[in-house]
Symmetry: D2
Subunit: 361 residues, 4 copies
């Protein structure tokens, strides 16, 4: 409760359950004068939308977003932007059998214990369905960042199970259903998913998200550091269990002489830091990685208990993704964009007086 | 700027530069009636303090904390608690040669670009010296959590370079200078540090931090999830480049049938989730891991540029830790404790009406 | 921007323009388990709604609120509550003539200067239409306060122009169109309004709002004092120019011996303080007064300038209230309820450990 | 608790009790590059300091502020600024007799009920002594506003008891001990105070605070309106019971044709609004008035109860101001400056893209 808002100057607040009437969000703090239509958000919503490929759940959600306020004659007015997506395909009966069960690996048990009551249909508020609004809000941030500051935010699938990509070709990412930048791994991903479906099982994934053309100076030490806020926003995505900035956990085995990124008049020589030094963006690409757990909604029977305190077996029969990580690609972009946008506004609020004369490297 | 506060109901705000007059913090929101003296904080401050072993920097800081307000006749009054540590050992001249240099891997460049001015002595605000106040504030949270709720927060070094611990004996942690829970690895750590010193180099580390007896229900979805807030607070520690909850990045290769923690009438059978489901604590141990980069303050020459835009070579000669990860153990405990404390208060603010009758597992 | 949220644990965020598609809000932090239907909000919405009497604007807005999330099987679930009111009667053409004019006494000029663009239709975001969502959210707070804590929040019109009420009969308030608690003043109010309509002019008003059965202890000194937060929430209502707690501005001429409320074993002897001491509720009735300016939307010609920087005359011909103060009665109740609700949750979050044994007076 | 912070981008957090070790505050969000020394704050601290004239309490507090961080080589660095004032004159024994009494009109009772424990010495945290840190922080805001934006914030005493000023001569304010801008009223104020001292009684006061050269556009509707935030910050001052913007409560009897401020090419013709329209500054002077209650610390016996639940009589013998309103003049300036500073930074964070071409009036 009172945890449904992210950001300070660019603030996103969301509502909505998986099988409720509608999902919605309020974007507060979008600067005025940005040209904005529903189409600007629809593209990313479609990328996240289930049912678009055979690799993701076959649930069909139109996910048509409507702008209810904050835009006048095609541009933002600086007032709060209300967004709405009506839920259309809500086969609630799919879930009636889990009304009294706590599905292992899901939030059923913790929501029940915390709130004493829960909307069990499709996970209710704990469903990843909620992330549709993040993608819509993120699209607004992405458009502003791109248009006003030339900042681009892109993500891709870098690993699924034990299949890792070996190269990054940005042109490939939208050419396949996996958001995979390595054309040579698409078949391996395809095979992995087919095997999982056969087994009724699921698999984890790793996503990489990158922001280019980020200006130097974003991030507010010591607690609202850019890396800390990125960790927060990425870890808030359903199923994420780990966040790395730059080299991440690889630094454990690195030496200082190897890790530190040398600076020359031509710029940084390497980017082990992932574009952030001392919690402040350095002007290099901001790079983060996230680990997404395998969904627990699988058809292999699992051991659990009921609300009434009895043992039970659970088999999830709904339409679920064998790898939720795939659809998390646009979500990761959205969250990084929202956090960068917030820090961009915060930085210029407080440092507009600063004129540095050093050549930016 | 305006980023020096963490927490919502249990709020910690800090100030202080490495070589300034003093460090301080304000703890706002500590419940009244908690017995509190300086000694309660001093223990953890001494654990973090440099100069206590041959493995860490030989700078000597008394790090004596003073309570300036918020405590009356030995107990907290519910008003804001002012804490102060005076800086005593400030050999500023050590740093005069880096006044115009941007040390690679440090925040010199980003602070300069963001603020146009910086206190270059010892890194100023970007120095890990600032974490002393986190440890002091964290000690207050730890005491409250332990005394009122029986919650214990402990951390240990789980890896340094390529040396990984293989077992966890909680009794061992305070018996060696590495906070190492595996007595059989102490010699290997010792050798690694000695080699690094000889080379004038540094190494990364991995810390594990665990909270036991955490009640079910902490965390406020969807953005202020407990895991997201832990990621934020741990990533805000200097040098941290990665945060994992539970199995962390290992989930990428896990299957759903393996990852999901089965529930029985006797409790959860495993804890892959790290004690958090859907962003809410499950009642299991909360487990997090962090990766700390090798310090860039090494005596091996590095390539860099100056404020004036010229090439330069940098050699850091100050007294520095070959592995900053070691001293991060009490800091990680402090940050986890602060975040749990905040969520404990938030949860009871909003869910005090809830009475769940299900047996807690 | 980023100013559309009020509250910390009970947080209300709103969106919507006067003539936009819809108004909406998100209530974040409502405790779970509260029985809630649209009807609970509709009663207060109807009290605020224009067109219900001849004394207020004849615009007709159905103001039918829909719950989109956060309620399941008739009770709140602890997740964010999405509310929506569609705008149905939007005679936008009424306003086309003021597209380029800055109406004196309105926000046209300041919105234009701040944002560079504005939705001029009916005042857009600056219209009091926005307060409909406050009333809806306030109704949720009022229900919780009443049901769980027995706290009641009521307001009435205490003055309009130079006509002041002389007694308070709580039963009378809902019996007349003025929310007037003094039956002997209803005719004078009626006459005043009729004269104003004839003149095409408007008048200011004073509203009194009272909360009964407020527990001791609400308010978080020194900045988030209960009185300071009430001043904030009441001053945020459109047209409010003054806020008083208890005796308010009368204290300027009072002596300490007269003002201080003596305490006896039977309770406080007087309530000059308005139920708040040192920023914390005392257990007495919380009493506040607000002053509302006369609306500037009148048919008497006014002098102004245009966007293009030319002199102009403005006559407002829309359907407007001669006294916006009347409809502010339910809005004042809503805002006080929202603030009390927030402080109730905050107080129990942080002081749940406190057991005071002194008899409450 | 957790209520000791004000502001969002320019954030002030304070600690300290009347008779504790020290008072302190952290200013977070002050832009870098501002020349700042202790002397900049000392002037206003001296204006607020007790013991400077025969009209205020004879307690002597040096009130010497020390800068502990955030300033390097004479200018702010953008990092958090720690300030400290040590308490030197703490005659605690004066207060030992009220340890068990709840002084009427004071916060003794509410603090006790809320927290279960309180520092009774001189009111502890509820003492107006706390406002010294507000004045120090406000001086930083005032300096920035003045130097960077030419904004000036000034307050004066406009009424004490039934003596009202009749003219405002800005040059007079600092020429007398009352901050009175009307030289013809100084004798009447002097006589009033002398009579009160003879009677052992106290009196209320009204303060007016004005900000000049405020740019158009400050304030974030709909809740963080500039007027709402000013109401919050002024009402948070000890003893304040009412806040007015512009004409304040006089609007109740005004007509719309009288109240609305006509606009011409030469500017606004009047300023009934007090410089704020729709919650946003209009470019006119921002004008607010506050009512301060008479202090309850008087030597006339008062009726009360004890912690143990018995009747008692209270006589306050300490050294107290007969009119706390006088010393509130610099405090009111400080609070208005802090709020304007915060909104200035917020506005430029979010509206830096806006270029309006209309001539500012």
């Amino acid at each position: 409760m009172a945890g449904n808002t992210i950001g300070q100057l660019f603030r996103v607040t969301t509502f909505g359950e998986s099988h409720g009437v509608a999902l919605g969000c309020i974007i507060d703090g979008c600067p005025p004068g940005l040209a904005l239509t529903e189409a600007d958000m629809q593209h990313d919503l479609d990328r996240r939308r289930p049912g678009t490929s055979k690799y993701t759940t076959q649930r069909r959600e139109a996910d048509e977003v409507k702008i209810l306020s904050g835009v006048f004659e095609g541009q933002t007015t600086g007032t709060s932007i209300g967004l709405l997506i009506e839920n259309t395909d809500q086969r609630s009966k799919d879930y009636s059998n889990i009304q009294d069960l706590f599905r292992p690996g899901h939030a059923d048990y913790t929501y029940h214990q915390k709130y004493g009551v829960r909307d069990y249909r499709g996970g209710g508020r704990s469903s990843a369905r909620e992330t549709a609004m993040r993608v819509a809000a993120g699209a607004v941030a992405k458009k502003y960042l791109k248009q006003v500051h030339g900042i681009e935010v892109c993500a891709y699938l870098s690993q699924m199970g034990d299949v890792k990509i070996e190269k990054v070709d940005w042109q490939q990412i939208e050419q396949n259903a996996f958001f995979c930048p390595d054309v040579d791994k698409v078949d391996a991903f395809d095979e992995l998913i087919r095997n999982l479906k056969k087994d009724g099982d699921s698999i984890g994934a790793k996503i990489t998200v990158v922001a280019r053309n980020v200006p130097v100076g974003l991030g507010e030490p010591v607690f609202d550091r850019l890396d800390a806020d990125i960790a927060h926003s990425l870890m808030s995505i359903n199923a994420v269990k780990g966040v790395e900035i730059g080299d991440g956990f690889d630094v454990v085995e690195q030496r200082g002489s190897e890790h530190r990124d040398a600076m020359t008049l031509q710029g940084f020589k390497t980017n082990h830091a992932g574009g952030i030094l001392g919690g402040i963006s350095s002007g290099q690409d901001v790079i983060a990685h996230i680990a997404l757990k395998p969904t627990s909604s699988i058809s292999i029977p699992g051991e659990t208990i009921t609300k009434q305190g009895e043992s039970a077996e659970v088999i999830t029969k709904g339409r679920h993704d064998p790898c939720v990580g795939i659809r998390a690609v646009p979500i990761a972009e959205a969250m990084l964009a929202i956090t960068l946008m917030d820090h961009l506004l915060r930085n210029r609020g407080q440092n507009a007086d600063v004129v540095t004369t050093t050549p930016k490297i």
